[in-house]
Amino acid sequence: MKKFIYLSCAVLVLFSCKKLVLDGLAFPSEELEVYEFENYDFSNGGIGLPDSMFADPTNYTEVTMTSFDAVNETSYQIHGVFIGDMSSIASDTVILYLHGQSLHMDAYFDRASLLANLGGKYNYSVFMIDYRGYGRSEGASTEQGLYEDGNAAIDWLIGQGADQNKTFCYGFSLGAIPTIDRAAYRDDFKFRKIILESPLASVENLVHNSTLLGMSPGFVTTLDFPNAEKIKDVSSPLLWIHGVEDDYISIDNGELIYGNHPGGDNVALRVPVANHGDIPQIIGFEVYLEEVLNFIRN
């Protein structure tokens, strides 16, 4: 009887402790004191962009903006990089690039630089931000924080005079989450079009497909990321790009999102052989740029 009481007490203590969640796995960020941009070591995970296609320091600017945390009523300074001429934002085409889950925006500077080659080098401007908790940005990453950081980026663009009819949003992997959310629910600044590369459908979909047991995702995480549901509220035309052999976020995720988008003028680019992060290399930089450019211009 005594053992039973001890065991029951231990169970109650465990049960009443602060709940453990796996949310942190979604945000494997790394803090930085200084960005390296084109000097970052891309040998582990980069796309193999040639030096000639990288943005050079005379053509990019590190900027900061304020992201407001509505839950804790706190403001964070987050960092971004603008590739292009900031003095002509009002008349330029701008691509807001929302990067994936890893490390910080240094690790995505090659991808952002690649987009700065659309239609010729520096033809379009590219604006990339680090979410809170990433790189030099203050705070800690949360699902709500992604949306608020997306808002901060849009506010910054508005402050610089950007034209919503010339602003496109490109979300890669995790970046698809704020891209879809802001495209769906930000009414004062509608992206002209959105581009999603390797997006996930939802945390529930990942949990169900990974465990096969139909387990509630709430058992292990507080994250939802309901992209395939929110995309129903997006009116901006969509280009969806996904590797057929993606073994991290399987292409089924993107199919759900693409299928749920209400617009009729969508484009799907299913890339055979490509995995999660190697689409530009597999398809080839020229073809990749041509596909994105065609979508932007048509």
């Binding site: 465990l14 402790c17 709940k19 939802s202 990974s210 096969l212 047991l213 709430g218 759900l256």
Partner: protein, 195 residues
């Protein structure tokens, strides 16, 4: 009474490790052929989820030389999250063949563990095509000379017929990109045993 540790092996920062699932377990022999048992999943408690498994194991064939003992275990696994207000239930069925050896009846076993999924739909109303998860398993139970302890190791081949290459969780499997390999360790202390 006892405890166990282990789960599907995953790639963690380049190293294959079993998911550290833990449980405490109790069992009671109603007679020499029938045992009822249950387990409390302590790792789940850390996630704010109360999870137990329960079942009854019946030995329906006795070992005759090389022909093994045969047993079947019918049970279930229940998980409840107060914060989610969600309950999940998975019926289970195990069938095992085991061979006793030595003076203290240590044994090897091979068998299958089956999980049944009651939900017919998954996220976004996708059909649940895997209503039964079939997991072959093999293990060994060692009974040392004194102390009334049993120590067991088990290798489970989780859904080896399903492609796991594109699963979000980086499962490792001895079958390459099919299923996942589970590895488990545990012990039991026999209480009130006459042996």
């Amino acid at each position: 009474m006892g405890g166990n540790f282990g789960g599907p092996v995953i790639d963690f920062a380049g190293a294959p490790i079993p998911v550290p699932l833990t449980a405490v377990e109790v069992g009671y022999g109603l007679d020499s052929n029938l045992t009822v048992h249950g387990g409390l999943h302590t790792t789940s408690l850390l996630f704010g989820v109360g999870q137990i498994d329960f079942g009854a194991t019946y030995k329906f064939l006795e070992q005759k030389k090389y022909f093994p003992n045969l047993s079947a275990s019918l049970g279930g696994n229940v998980a409840y999250s107060p914060s989610e207000k969600a309950v999940e239930f998975w019926p289970t069925l195990d069938v095992n063949a085991y061979w006793n050896y030595g003076k203290r009846d240590s044994y090897f076993y091979v068998g299958v563990n089956n999980y049944f999924v009651l939900q017919s739909r998954m996220a976004f109303d996708q059909p649940q095509n895997q209503r039964m998860i079939f997991n072959p398993q093999m293990g060994h139970v060692f009974k040392p000379k004194s102390g009334g302890y049993q120590f067991f190791t088990e290798l489970k081949f989780i859904a080896p017929y399903l492609d796991s290459d594109k699963a979000f969780v980086p499962y490792k499997s001895i079958f390459g990109t099919n299923g996942a390999t589970g590895f488990y360790l545990g012990f039991r202390k026999l209480l009130g045993s006459k042996k």
